[in-house]
């Protein structure tokens, strides 16, 4: 059982203490992720998805409960982890070129030069940005900046990949390509992925399961397993009836969440929507 769990989020609670305003962003979150699993997280805006990701990344301390990664309690960023931040623009160093931004973590990881070059080139090609490798981030459009951040994470070849709305600023076609990139990367490297998104189709298309969060103070409202075949394809997968069912189900859950629904039990019934219905 323990070897079966990569990430264990146990009763995590997070309260932001301000002078004038104290916010209980997360009430109680408990779930675990298997090694090599791809879990998507959806939830209303302000639900605490970013907060959760930062707690998992060891960037933010939890108020209660604990985050355990590979059997070790997370207190600082663990090794072998990459994060794509929601504020993509600010997570790039403006004083370095695109190439420099992608290469830096690799240097830090002591990847030999030749290998490093290859990784940088390949990841920039994957996000179609090899032609601007020598530009500075602020010379790029929003979507391009976001893709640089993704390329940086991809080149790093992490064991755990946390992504916070990574495709929010890219166009539909690129988005589809990047979705497939993440899936192929995930299958090739066996990396464990936690993926926050607002796009329900995307969550269903990408994930092996979808965690639906309630409004703040946040609980896990539902944990929907995605029982689509592993081989997925933008056209065929999205047009299967099961895909439609799942996305309608998640959509309803989110509407419930927005309506203030909080108890996981109430939704258990609908979660039973399985392949056999």
């Amino acid at each position: 059982m323990t070897t079966e769990t990569m990430l264990d989020v146990r009763g995590v609670r997070k309260v932001f203490e301000g002078k004038s305003r104290t916010v209980e962003a997360i009430r109680e979150l408990t779930f675990s992720v298997r090694p090599g699993e791809l879990a998507c997280i959806v939830g209303p805006s302000g639900a605490g998805k970013t907060t959760l990701l930062k707690c998992v990344a060891g960037l933010l301390g939890v108020t209660d409960g604990e985050v355990v990664l590979e059997g070790e309690r997370v207190t600082a960023p663990p090794p072998g982890m990459a994060v794509v931040f929601q504020e993509y623009g600010r997570s790039l160093f403006p004083w370095m070129t695109v190439r420099g931004n992608v290469e830096l973590p690799l240097k830090e990881k002591k990847v030999p030069r030749g290998e490093r070059r290859r990784l940088v080139r390949e990841s920039l090609e994957a996000v179609e940005l090899d032609h601007v490798a020598d530009s500075y981030p602020w010379q790029l459009s929003g979507g391009m900046q976001q893709r640089v951040a993704i390329a940086r994470a991809v080149a790093y070849e992490p064991r755990v990949l946390l992504m916070d709305e990574p495709f929010a600023a890219v166009d539909a076609q690129t988005r589809a390509d990047l979705e497939d990139l993440v899936r192929s990367l995930w299958r090739r490297l066996g990396v464990t992925v936690l993926f926050v998104t607002h796009d329900i189709d995307e969550a269903v298309y990408l994930g092996e399961r979808v965690l639906v969060l309630s409004m703040a103070p946040t609980l896990v409202l539902a944990d929907v397993p995605v029982d689509l075949p592993d081989e997925r394809d933008q056209i065929t997968t999205r047009s299967t009836p099961r895909f439609g069912e799942l996305r309608t189900h998640v959509w309803e859950l989110i509407q419930q969440a927005k309506a203030g629904e909080r108890s996981p039990e109430d939704t258990q019934v609908t979660t039973a929507v399985g392949p056999d219905t």
């Binding site: 997070k14 309260v15 932001f16 203490e17 301000g18 002078k19 960037l59 301390g61």
Partner: protein
């Protein structure tokens, strides 16, 4: 709560206590004329400063410092905003400003005497002439560094010049203006002393120099300590103002650092 106050007090006073102790021990048996034992310095402190000199010397000094500092603040922020906002103006005046900035105040004094006489105004101007630079430079840099997206936002909503000045430029540059204001304060105190080297007949700086000339060394040291105390008191006052005016900046940083 109490623990955190105690912790902060400890942090604030810890190093000074160590340094004072070191000074105390190092000079305990000092026979050197210029390095009197610390107890001797502290012993003269009271009689030197609290028997009439507070009103006769310290007060006039502080008033001149205050006047000079406030004028420098107004001028520095005003000019700095103008210069920071206009590349053309910056190109025109920068060499001239740099020219004046490089001139040491003691050589500027004769010119100031020509224009402002030998009274308090001259000394105030000496203080202004030095204080203004950190404020000016920091304001210029602060104004230039304001986020482009914010600038664009203000332009789009067609904010008037005046409110753009208040709500965008000054607020946006305020962290850096504060940095300049703090540096200016210590320079102001230095210049308060320098200004009292000329045509003065009262003031802390004047008195300290007088002690120095008449070889009243413990008294001179007590004056240096007094200057430090004045400095730290004023810095604390300034910090208080800054604490209120820049609450958002602190919050922004603390929240993003996840101190929640």
């Amino acid at each position: 709560m109490i623990v955190s106050i105690a912790r902060r007090a400890l942090l604030a006073l810890g190093l000074p206590a160590v340094l004072v102790t070191l000074w105390w021990v190092a000079t305990a048996n000092s026979t050197s004329f210029f390095w009197p034992p610390l107890p001797e310095i502290l012993g003269t402190f009271g009689e030197t400063w609290f028997s009439g000199r507070l009103a006769a010397d310290v007060l006039p000094s502080l008033l001149r410092l205050l006047a000079g500092y406030l004028i420098a603040l107004a001028l520095g922020v005003g000019l700095g905003t103008a210069i920071g906002s206009s590349a053309t103006l910056r190109a025109v005046v920068e060499p001239v400003l740099e020219f004046f900035r490089a001139i040491p105040p003691p050589v500027l004094v004769p010119i100031l005497i020509l224009f402002a006489g030998i009274g308090d105004w001259m000394k105030v101007l000496v203080i202004v002439s030095g204080c203004i630079w950190p404020i000016l430079l920091n304001t210029v840099e602060g104004v230039r560094g304001i986020d482009e997206v914010l600038r664009d936002t203000a332009r789009c909503y067609r904010m008037r010049r005046s409110s753009r000045l208040v709500h965008l430029v000054l607020r946006g540059a305020s962290p850096q203006i504060a940095a300049g204001a703090r540096q200016a304060l210590s320079i102001g105190i230095i210049l308060m002393v320098i200004s009292e080297m000329f045509a003065a007949s009262n003031g802390v700086g004047f008195t300290v120099i007088q002690f120095q000339r008449s070889f009243a060394i413990p008294q001179m040291w007590s004056g240096i300590i007094l200057l430090g105390l004045i400095g730290i008191t004023l810095a604390l006052l300034l910090r208080l103002v800054e604490y209120r005016a820049l609450a958002w900046y602190r919050g922004l940083h603390e929240s993003q650092r996840g101190k929640g």
